[in-house]
Symmetry: C2
Subunit: 349 residues, 2 copies
Amino acid sequence: MTTPEAREKAVLEAVRKRRELVNEAIPEELPIQRPERLYEASRYLLDAGGKRLRPTVLLTTAEALANVDPLTVDYREFPTLDGETIDIMDAAVSVEVIQSFTLIHDDIMDDDDLRRGVPAVHKEYDLETAILAGDTLYSKAFEIMLETGAKPERAVEALEILATTCTKICEGQSLDVTFENRAEVSPEEYLEMVEQKTAVLYAASACLPAILLGADDETIDALYGYGLDIGRAFQIQDDVLDLTVPSEKLGKQRGSDLVENKQTLITVHARSQGVDIEGLIDTNDVDAVTEAEIDDAVAKLEAAGSISYANETAQELVEQGKARLEVLPDNEARDLLCEIADYLIERGY
Amino acid sequence: MTTPEAREKAVLEAVRKRRELVNEAIPEELPIQRPERLYEASRYLLDAGGKRLRPTVLLTTAEALANVDPLTVDYREFPTLDGETIDIMDAAVSVEVIQSFTLIHDDIMDDDDLRRGVPAVHKEYDLETAILAGDTLYSKAFEIMLETGAKPERAVEALEILATTCTKICEGQSLDVTFENRAEVSPEEYLEMVEQKTAVLYAASACLPAILLGADDETIDALYGYGLDIGRAFQIQDDVLDLTVPSEKLGKQRGSDLVENKQTLITVHARSQGVDIEGLIDTNDVDAVTEAEIDDAVAKLEAAGSISYANETAQELVEQGKARLEVLPDNEARDLLCEIADYLIERGY
């Protein structure tokens, strides 16, 4: 039986190797060209780091589907299920580029100063450049997805997934903004928002290789479901970590969601248990809050059982997601997809 | 021989009929759905009006290619060159949706208050909603373009055009912003910026039906060139109109480009003739400028020959664009495309 520590080590190693390959591919697909300032701003957040979890899910799913040993086949000439080769790395870069576009625009909307430990793009550059950098990444993601060399009918289906995913992310972000001004949000509403805002890009990452490599509809649907489940679990865990991980490690102020009245599964649950969420933290200013205030708020949320509730919900989603992977051949890459699912809710940051 | 007045009447009538059909199609392709506020904001500018010139170019080009009499064939079941039918209206709506997305984000970047005589989306709603409304239209345009029912290989090519067009629009907008802070911009640099910021969407509008209906590469390229030429002419004329049309008719302050130090072909030419462009208008505040100041500035630009120079350049581009239409069958729709080209630089607003 694998211990969480051994699993975390294995996952981090697998992620690290794929991350290195994705990091090599990003400047190839998105070179700094004229106008330089625009492309520098577009690359700024991508170059600042990131775990590349979505591309890792995508590349590992491709390996599981093609039934090849992990990291033994060139992602740039990857075998389809009907004996051709495509560039599956393009698809991986495309979803990371979409992720980066949404972060740039989200940081403007939330007026967040920091991201990945560096200034947000609209702080490092300016509002105009940040809007435009996001817009550029948006169309570049479509251009890159069109370069895989997959059969036209598969490319069309992949682009449909990419476009509807982007639409859902916008809808989810819109719901998220609306929720900040609403006192009562049900756990179902919250989970719907998380599905649209976050989980759909994991779902796209998991099902895109199935589409591009030529898998059947049952497999495509099961992998989409896996991505939705682990994506929701990921966001719930992110909300837990926002309360429990020291600010230095988090790369931003711990508890900032609470200060900014963001709805999370934790606050939604706590309110249903009678906790006065608005009274937990006096200030709305992330720079003014004290660690002691946040410790006190977290203690109240723990007492209401809300953090346990979030952990249990995430755990259930991960189990459900893993069960969906039975459509895949039994191989090392499939095991890794299970471990990634576990890691998403066991990770410390 | 057609007089400009007769031509304007014919073009306006042709545009009006297609506009009505496009206006019917927009709510069908982009219904107000949950989250309502997001979709209302996304539709706000589309519903506020607009001449629908790009969709008109697209639909008329389709008619010329298919060699059918204008407005006699249902755009929703339009004949391809190889005997199938596709929904060419989807392509027309898609380019208009892209246009609307760029206007919403451009108005934020330029902090313009008015558009089409109504408040800009970030003024009517707020910054967050305007960013998100633009982002939603962006992916919706791709979704809608994917619904034409064209053969997959044609759909893929159409999406490549759409994606690269969006990238170029961002690059052009970035150059435009950079130019505001630069004293010296050459006419060549200015025309390159205009090509990327404005003309590429006309080029896409003209060549997309050729791609989707299955025309040959020579025809696709010629139509792309026609769109680039008339798009550049359109923008040059827009810059002339910004100086010469009364504010009420323009839907915004006349001369606002001069006040905001926007480079236009007119200012680029005038500077090369020794005119002190920065000294033409004292204020940088559109609300503070007087009509007399603008009259005085326009007189100086006229004296330097800069407005004539812009008019002549636009005229040459239109002639060049019309000549490219010889790849099309000689029919009524082709004549209309010539008339649209002439109209773009003869129009009074």
